[in-house]
Amino acid sequence: MSASNSGKDESLISKGYDWIDSRFKIDALVEYMSHKVVPLHSHSIFYYLGGITLFLFLIQVASGILLLMYYRPGADSAYESVRFIISEVEFGWLVRAIHSWSANLMVFGAFIHMFTVFFTKAYRAPRELTWFSGIGLLALCMTFGFSGYLLPWNELAFFATRVGTGMAGAVPVIGEQLLIVMRGGEGVTGATIGRFFGLHVAILPAAFTVLLTIHLAAVQRQGMSEPVDWVNKPESEKKYMKFFPHFIYRDALVWLIVLNILALLAVIFPDGIGVVHWPLGEKADLFGVPPAVIRPEWYFMFAFQALKMLPAHVWFLEGELFGIIAFSVGGLLWAMVPFLDRKSVKGKEPKLVMAFGVFVVIFILAMTIVGYLVE
């Protein structure tokens, strides 16, 4: 770009900026943002994980909107329209592959993001709200995955949804009613597709947008969390990088790398590979026999396997009910960790909380591996 040319660009940009600034007074905001810094230390690489997850979410939105142009919910049309997308529409296979791959990578990214935040104690005060909104976003991600799984209305999705919603039936008192509300009737039928579709493309995106806005606003307002031991570190020894433009450029590069990985995966394995696999297969048959192996998606595997391994009765409780209670208590403890950990704010190691975190990681990994080995 020649000097005169860039001069022209700048004047155009600054004119546009002035136009907006004179109306909305954004000068102060820009001034504020320009002071934003990112702490530099041995775990700085974790700061990219939230951005990666956000980027994958944006890809979900874009590819989801494309799929909406051809997808038709309903027992007579859902499967047919997905088959139409992947076999007739140009690049339809690619759009579905991108949507499925980025969904899986997004859930994976969100999990890794959560665990790195946990083990670096970045949830500690004053960032409790960021942690809570993040937990909510992960829950929404998983609900997105669960509701999207049924939409192709194929054999695998049908039975996985029957089992998955069936678990809700084990919830005490309200279980039966909950099951009917989730399925839109007693069984998984075309009515269930309608509900899951509405959830997937309207309710969840709306809820996600609200939580994401809170999450991002909190991060922007409070800045990145600094390591626990920086509390006692002299200012002169702390190193920072400017957010604009240095961190943003690095973020952009990471996003580009993620985009390339995503494109490679989608092109080479459009139906997924291994345990991350979404072949269209046969259409759901309400009167059919389930396939030999029904498995939930990998991020539900640990819960699925743990519930499967429980005996029929634990004390006076039914096994499944006990499992659901245990998971609820565990999840609640996990979500409440900013309140349970009172040490890290003072720069001390919260040993008990970290031990709980290690246990959770080992439990999830072990149950997932066992789930795939035992078939």
């Binding site: 770009m1 494309l66 529409v89 140009e90 690049f91 759009v95």
Partner: protein, 150 residues
């Protein structure tokens, strides 16, 4: 030294700018192709046995009945002379559906008062072209409709 710097800068600018454009293109091209729908999800039919016969057409007050013909909509009418004639039912003006007016002896498009004679010719009103005429064969009680070979 300064000159060397600026040529390096130029190279980087072109490299990054070109790379960005290529990336956006690689995203936009499949997306645009995807939005553009395939020819049709439905096979186009060139011959059809009507799901009704002469008595049903006669029973209509207009002595005419529309039918789905592959991707198109057709109309079959019974003339005063007792002939069966079939046409594409989509008006050539703005895609309304035409109807038989036995009282006027024409095919009439009510949207903009377009008129066609019973050979499909556009005789008055806005329609720019005649209606496509189909070949009608009656075999016993069955009526077969065929597109004319072009």
């Amino acid at each position: 030294m300064a000159k060397k710097d600026s040529s390096r800068r130029d190279f980087i600018s072109w490299f990054l700018g070109g790379g960005t454009l290529a990336t956006l293109g690689a995203i936009a091209y499949p997306a645009m192709r995807f939005i553009n729908p395939p020819e049709s999800g439905e096979a186009n039919v060139s011959q059809l046995k009507l799901p009704f016969g002469r008595p049903e057409i006669q029973a209509e007050p207009s002595n005419g009945k529309t039918f789905k013909f592959g991707r198109d909509l057709g109309i079959i009418v019974l003339t005063e002379a007792g002939d069966l004639r079939a046409f594409a039912a989509t008006c050539t003006h703005l895609d309304c559906t035409v109807q038989h007016r036995p009282d006027l002896g024409i095919l009439w498009c009510s949207c903009h008062n377009g008129r066609y004679d019973l050979d499909g010719g556009n005789i008055s009103g806005p329609p720019p072209r005649p209606l496509e005429k189909y070949v009608v064969n009656e075999v016993g009680d069955d009526i077969f409709i065929k597109k004319e070979e072009v």
